[in-house]
Amino acid sequence: MTLWLYVLQRGSALVLAPLVVAHLVLIVIASRDGLSAAEILSRTQGSIGWAAFYGTFVIAAAVHAPIGLRNVIREATPWRGRGLDLAMALLGLAMLALGARAVIAVVGAVVAS
C-alpha cells in the first residue's frame, strides 16, 4: 500500500504541476483583462475542454493532498494508524465533492432562471 500511495502521490504531482501553472496564468489573464464573472462563465459554461481541465485538476488535487498531508502528520505528530488513514480518506472525498461542485458551477449548462 505504501508503494501505491507513493506512486499515486508522485503521479498526481506530475499531473498537477502543469495544471497549476495554467491555472495561475488564467487568473492573471482574467483579472488583467478585467473580465467579469458573467464574461468568464459565458466562456466556460458548456465547455467540455474546461470541464476536463478543472475536473482533472480536482481529481489530482484530491488524490495528492491527503497522501502528502498523511505523510506530514505521520512525521510531525504521533498520530498514525486507521484513524489517520480514515481521516485522510474523508479529506480526499471532501476535496473531491467540493471540487466537483465548483467545476459543475463553472462549466455546467446555464439553468433557466
Binding site: 501505491w4 500511495l5 510531525a76
Partner: protein, 245 residues
C-alpha cells in the same frame, strides 16, 4: 597553557545516561595531528576513568567510534581536531537518533535490527561445491553494488538522517544502502524479498532525498542515490518493467 608549558584547549563532553545528562568541560593537551578520539581517550585515561565510549580499530575500518562532534555526526578516529574544530571549540556528544547507554556510548541494536528488517541478509543461490559465479565487473548492476559495499556500519548516516529523527521506525540510509547492494547482486537469491521489505511503511519511500546521509558518510558512499535506486526499482517492478541499476 598548562604548567608543563604544553598548549591546552577546552573540550566539552556529554556525560549522562538514558535519563538525561549535560556537558562537562575538560582541559586537554593540544597535540599535532590529534584526533577527536585521541581527545576522548586522553580524558578517560587521565581525568575521567568512568567515561563510557566505544572504539576498536582507530583507523577508520570498524565503524565503532562515531559521535557527534560540534553538532555533526562524525567518525572520531579519523576526524582531526585541527580540521573539525579549527577555532579550538570542541563539543563531543553521543550519536543522534540512537538511545544513549551512557556518556558517548549509544545502543546500536535498533540500527542493526533494521539491516535485517530491510532484507539485508545474503541468501546464496549456490553452494560451496558449485563453481564461483562469473560476474562481469563492468556490468551496471555490479557497478551499482560495488558503489555501496564499503559501508563500515558506523551509523553516521543514521544519526544525520532527518527522517529517522522524525520517524524512529524508518529503516534509515545504511540498511537501505545494504538492500540496494543486494538487489544488484546477481548471486542474491531473495531480491523480491528485499523489495517487499523496503516497500513497507517504514521503507525507502519515506526518504525526503535531502542527502544528509551522503553528505556525512565518512567513507564517501552515496546512500541517497541507493535509496533513489530502490524507489526507481520498486516503481518499475510495479509497472511491470525490469528496474535498471
Amino acid at each position: 597553557m598548562a604548567r608543563s608549558g604544553q598548549p591546552e584547549f577546552a573540550v566539552s563532553i556529554w556525560r549522562g545516561g538514558p535519563g538525561g545528562g549535560n556537558f562537562v568541560r575538560y582541559r586537554v593537551p593540544r597535540r599535532a595531528d590529534q584526533t577527536v578520539l585521541d581527545v576522548v581517550t586522553w580524558v578517560q585515561r587521565h581525568l575521567e576513568p568512568s567515561l563510557a565510549y566505544r572504539f576498536a580499530c582507530r583507523v577508520g575500518m570498524c565503524g565503532s567510534c562515531a559521535m557527534t562532534v560540534n553538532g555533526r555526526p562524525r567518525w572520531t578516529c579519523r576526524s582531526h581536531v585541527g580540521k573539525v574544530a579549527p577555532e579550538g571549540r570542541l563539543e563531543i556528544a553521543p550519536l543522534p537518533n540512537l538511545p544513549v547507554i551512557r556518556d558517548l556510548a549509544t545502543d546500536m541494536t535498533g540500527f542493526f535490527d533494521k539491516w535485517q528488517a530491510a532484507g539485508g541478509r545474503f541468501a546464496p543461490t549456490a553452494t560451496r561445491r558449485d563453481p564461483p559465479a562469473r560476474i562481469a565487473p563492468a556490468s551496471p548492476a555490479r557497478k551499482a553494488a560495488d558503489a555501496g559495499i564499503e559501508c563500515i556500519n558506523c551509523g553516521v548516516c543514521y544519526g544525520a538522517c532527518g527522517v529517522v529523527g522524525a520517524r524512529p521506525d524508518y529503516l534509515g540510509p545504511a540498511a537501505l544502502n545494504r538492500a540496494w547492494t543486494l538487489v544488484n547482486d546477481a548471486r542474491h537469491g531473495e531480491v523480491p524479498g528485499v523489495l517487499r521489505a523496503i516497500s513497507r511503511d517504514d521503507g525507502c519511500h519515506g526518504c525526503h532525498s535531502q542527502g544528509s546521509c551522503t553528505a556525512h558518510c565518512p567513507v564517501g558512499l552515496d546512500p541517497s542515490a541507493a535509496i533513489a535506486g530502490l524507489k526507481r526499482r520498486t516503481l518499475l517492478d510495479l509497472l511491470g518493467g525490469e528496474g535498471r541499476p
